[in-house]
Symmetry: C2
Subunit: 314 residues, 2 copies
Amino acid sequence: MTAIGRATIEQAAARIEPFAHRTPALTCRTLDDRFGAVLQFKCENLQKVGAFKFRGATNAVRSLSDGEAARGVITHSSGNHAQALALAARDRGIAATIVMPSSAPAVKRAAVEGYGATVIECAPTLEARESTTAAQIEESGAVLVHPYNDPRIIAGQATAAKELFEQAGALDFVLAPVGGGGLLAGTACAASAWCPAARVVGAEPAGADDAQRSFRAGRIIPSTDPQTIADGLLTSLGDQTFPLIMRHVHDIVTVSEAAIVEAMRLVWQRMKIIVEPSAAVPVAALIEQRLDVRGARVGIILSGGNVDLDRLPW
Amino acid sequence: MTAIGRATIEQAAARIEPFAHRTPALTCRTLDDRFGAVLQFKCENLQKVGAFKFRGATNAVRSLSDGEAARGVITHSSGNHAQALALAARDRGIAATIVMPSSAPAVKRAAVEGYGATVIECAPTLEARESTTAAQIEESGAVLVHPYNDPRIIAGQATAAKELFEQAGALDFVLAPVGGGGLLAGTACAASAWCPAARVVGAEPAGADDAQRSFRAGRIIPSTDPQTIADGLLTSLGDQTFPLIMRHVHDIVTVSEAAIVEAMRLVWQRMKIIVEPSAAVPVAALIEQRLDVRGARVGIILSGGNVDLDRLPW
């Protein structure tokens, strides 16, 4: 396990500061009243590319030596990390290659290409993604930037919670969604450094509950056939994120699909901001009372806002 | 004409500060690139009740003497001002009566009642609204708080632009939508006090272009049968807002309905925030190139975010 402490997170914060938004921390009295708590929402949906992923990608890209950077970066992703890496690479003026499954929506491919990256299609299986990526690395020497299982990524994601503590002060709880665990591990490391009294709780869909099962078992239990509308949370924990989560996270809770949709709509309706299903998962945990936050000060990382406006789940 | 200068606006700001959000000023590189300008969006859609109207209503309610306040407040509105006045009154612990046309959507009535106000229905004509309101005032002695034609309201709305100048620094342009003119007049007064070099431009739907016609004619020409999706901009200028607009506003431009919908979707898609059609009108003016902002620093007041999520215009 690579320890990610205060100094590492501060270095990441300094590295990304010229490029990333310092996103607002918003409050909403209606939601406070509903849940009987003081909620502070860290709006990473308002981050560049619409997701916290830009923090980690920028920290990773900016951590490369000039020699490494000259070889370009590569990843396999059809989600927010793909856009994040594409923009982070463009900001540095280096090449980015994104391996995407042929099943990825055209709009996602266009977004990545819009940021100047090269998209390489592969068959829609994990094996094809990994072998296509490996072949590309072999050919071009590009540096792999994994979506979450990388200390530079985790340190970058940690900067969101660092800012939240600066903006909101001490908190009793910090909630974040968990897929591969980069955001949750980073959030927990930041809490450990800046607000050690805060309880850090991960939230995930019941239909993709590998993180809770892994957390309880004390070993990584990969996801098999996850089913959820929260398409950012389909991935399994990695050997870099899991030990940090075991060490610094207090609990992982699960939520129903209905609660995710209800939470998403609640945030849109009352806060006037667009969150994607994955980002609504911690709010769903409040709706389903998966933890007792009454009277507490609660930070919630709203992870992203990338949705298809023509296909809303209500 | 009641002059509304720096001291008046600062008093309003101090009065509302404990109650209103200091909303964020957001930027978006994609939109900057598209319009060739540096845009600063003042997010009044993230204000309490989802609209700038809460500023003016709170300033008006907090300006009342204890004796006036004890009589309660009243207005006629089916829009954002109704919710704003209801919440501002509740914050002060006084009664609010809202006269609404029987044609108002049940959801709007429920929202107002949710803030503790009493709703009185009337026939859906301006005459019925005014006579019902007058009868209520006669009976209860409640203080009328007009949606826009009131210096306290205008001074309250001016605080949004004041904050924007504090957050964004000097601007070359400030754009705001114009209906009854409370927001535009307030914005222009704030610019006159804090950034006199800024050109203040109002934007309205071509289908409700009474403000542009009035501005050009130099006298108030009321709206007759306005047709637009921007339902917050159907009203006509008043004798308090019009002279301030004539004095401090540089131009009023109009936009098409198609551009309003395009602008609304553009903001949702790229900025991940929910704006209502009225709020999208200044962005529509950029889409239709109604003013030349290339290379300029442009402030845009995003006036509100109250939309029916089940009835989106795309």
